[in-house]
């Protein structure tokens, strides 16, 4: 599948995913959903990279995605660990209540 | 791929799926009979000769029963959870090689739904999805016991996926492929002239780790913490009845089948008969299609042996406590798996002239 139209479609989907993740990151109050939105953005980037790797025939995009997925797994583990600690203090996952974090 | 190929593929998929689902009723009967044997009692013997129609009676009972939906549950997730449990169990069958190939006219068709070159990874990936049925089912039931069962299941399965993968990594390094089909081919012949050339003789440690982790992955005793009937009523499926319960039940047995099939394929030579190569057998019989049938029979025999071991272990060993379960995974299995990988790497460096 190396026809031209699919290139645009992939990019459209990827960018839409990044945009969706961004909107979710900004409008949601629940900290868990905010983390999920970050994952959506990361996946949009992954899709762009895979598409670029597929189109150019070079391996760099694919390898980068392998690394990104590995780091994303760790990132989520740490992020959720922090969230659980915050939850133990505040008894809520509402980001509006985490005002002390503003420093 | 013309129309005929497509029809053959569709029929093949259907036949393999139905064939493997048949393991479930057989196992229901065998589980009861073996349990009876171990506990020194006759077991089911009223329905049909030797109680052979017991699974049919069980299935009829489950089908006839009312499927209640309790009032305070999350309806959508509650009803979709059994499907989430069964679907991955069915999907993971796609990569299992039941035999070499069969012939129609002069065309060859593999006895496998799809020969993926990432077959083993595919089975692990799909197998890890089975947990969502448990998780969502337990949460949507709106019941503390179910929720605790679901939580336990989540941490158990996430913990045991690591030893599962580590255990099989040694074998993958040895074979140099992830395609289950090629793995089977690499296990043909004899080892030192006496033993069949099976992976288990090269990878005893890896097999041990994989075997133990497979029990935990399928939520079987001694690791059935998500449904401990003594503490949690029935765990995540407390609120389920009728066919919804049967779906969870079926998913568990199909996951067991998949795990047994992976063990058979990776460590026990797949469809091959020990001391008798496919070609020798072919020259004796003279028909590829009969050979294929024999291969499928051999494969299922091996799988059933593992299923019986599952049952045997279930009725012999007591249940682990949850902290013991976690300690076993993180403290014992993962180090053993890592040691096995290092040993395999050293062995390959010195002896393998690939």
């Amino acid at each position: 599948m190396s026809n031209f139209s699919s290139v645009y479609w992939t990019q459209f989907i990827a960018i839409a995913l990044i945009g969706l993740g961004m909107v979710g990151f900004l409008i949601r109050r629940n900290a868990i959903v905010v983390l999920m939105s970050i994952e959506l953005m990361l996946n949009g980037v992954n899709l762009l990279l895979i598409e670029a790797a597929h189109r150019s025939g070079s391996a760099d995009g694919t390898m980068l995605v392998v690394f990104i997925i590995t780091i994303a797994a760790g990132e989520v583990a740490v992020g959720l660990g922090i969230l659980l600690n915050l939850y133990r203090i505040k008894h809520s996952s509402d980001t509006e209540l985490y005002k002390e974090l503003q420093g | 791929m013309d129309q005929f190929d497509f029809i053959v593929l569709a029929v093949k998929t259907l036949v393999i799926l139905v064939l493997i689902i048949q393991v479930v009723p057989v196992m229901i009967y065998l589980e009861r009979k073996i349990a009876a044997l171990i506990q020194d009692r006759p077991g089911p013997n009223r329905v049909g000769p030797l109680g052979l129609l017991q699974p049919v009676a069980d299935a009829l009972k489950l089908l006839m029963k009312e499927d209640p939906v309790p009032s305070n549950v999350n309806k959508f997730l509650f009803q979709i959870a059994p499907f989430l449990a069964v679907m991955p169990a069915c999907l993971s069958l796609a990569a299992l090689p039941l035999g070499d190939f069969f012939e129609i006219g002069d065309r060859k068709y593999l006895l496998q739904i799809a020969d993926l070159n990432v077959g083993l990874l595919y089975i692990f990936a799909i197998g890890s999805l089975g947990i969502y049925g448990t998780l969502f089912g337990g949460w949507a039931s709106n019941n503390k016991f179910s929720l605790i069962g679901a939580m336990r299941s989540a941490s158990q399965i996430v913990s045991y996926e690591i030893p599962l993968a580590l255990g099989v990594t040694g074998a993958v390094m040895m074979y140099g492929t992830l395609s289950l089909r090629e793995m089977v081919f690499k296990q043909s012949g004899l080892l030192l002239g006496v033993l069949p050339n099976w992976g288990v003789f090269y990878q005893p440690l890896g097999f041990l780790v994989f075997f133990v982790a497979a029990f935990a992955e399928t939520n079987r005793l001694p690791f059935d913490l998500p449904e401990t009937e003594a503490e949690l009523v029935a765990g995540f499926h407390t609120e389920y009845g009728s066919m919804s319960f049967a779906s969870f039940f079926m998913a568990e047995y199909m996951a067991m089948t998949t795990m047994s099939a992976v063990m058979t394929t990776v460590y026990f030579g797949g469809w091959q008969i020990p001391y008798l190569s496919d070609e020798a057998l072919f020259s004796m019989i003279g028909s590829r299609n009969i050979l294929a049938l024999i291969q499928v029979a051999v494969f299922f025999t091996k799988v059933m042996v593992f299923m019986c071991i599952y049952v045997w272990v279930r009725w012999t060993l007591p249940r682990f406590r949850f902290d013991q379960l976690m300690k076993l995974s993180w403290g014992n299995l993962i180090p053993i798996g890592l040691i096995n990988i290092v040993l395999t790497a050293i062995g390959l460096y010195f002896w393998d002239k690939r």
Binding site: M1, S2, S6, Y8, W9, T10, Q11, F12, I13, L17, I18, G19, G21, G24, L26, I27, R28, R29, I32, V33, M36, S37, L40, N43, N46, L47, E51, A53, H54, S56, G57, M63, V65, V66, I69, T70, I71, A72, V76, V78, L80, G81, L84, Y87, S93 | N117, V118, L121, F124, A125, I126, S128, L129, I131, Y132, F136, W139, A154, S155, I157
Partner: protein
């Protein structure tokens, strides 16, 4: 036909993605996240990267979303007050629009036509590259993962000592 399937899976992915951010209950968000990751795996297969597709299912749906669902069930958050106020909505909509437009422009202007020799990266090639060209990133990544394990361990330990008010 492949194009049609591609577009259908893409639209499915986007619908599930939008339901992640629009569903009021975090459990439904997590559920949609699973579906949208599945859609992405399908897109990767159509882009001839089956390895990445399998890894996507294995790591994202098999591990990451399990963690999400686990934490959601542990916290059991109520779904009231799911969104921030309208200022955030307008700002986010504007930002997303601007960024998307910028990306779209940058990417479509720079799109090179497909090179003829594009091929799927086999598992062997990925493994070889990991231990040759990408050896240093790979090693740094392993250290990174160890640091993360230690960090999570510290977080879990610390929380036990915090008094529960």
């Amino acid at each position: 036909m492949t194009d049609g399937i591609f577009i259908a899976i893409g639209i499915f992915t986007l619908l599930c993605g939008s339901s992640v951010i629009l569903c009021k209950s975090p459990v439904y968000s997590a559920f949609s996240l699973i579906l949208s990751f599945f859609g992405l795996a399908g897109l990767y297969i159509l882009l001839e990267s089956p390895f990445i597709a399998v890894i996507q299912v294995l790591v994202y749906t098999g591990a990451i979303v399990v963690l999400f669902v686990y934490v959601v069930m542990l916290m059991n958050p109520n779904s009231s007050g799911a969104y921030r106020n309208w200022i955030f909505m307008i700002v986010s909509a504007f930002l997303a629009w601007a960024v998307s437009l910028y990306l779209l422009k940058a990417l479509t202007l720079g799109v090179a036509p497909a090179v003829g020799g594009a091929h799927a990266l086999s598992l062997k090639e990925v493994a070889t590259l990991l231990f040759t060209k990408y050896l240093w990133p790979f090693e740094i990544l392993s250290i990174f993962l160890v640091v993360m394990i230690v960090a999570v361990f510290a977080l879990a330990k610390q929380s036990k000592e915090t008094p529960n008010e």
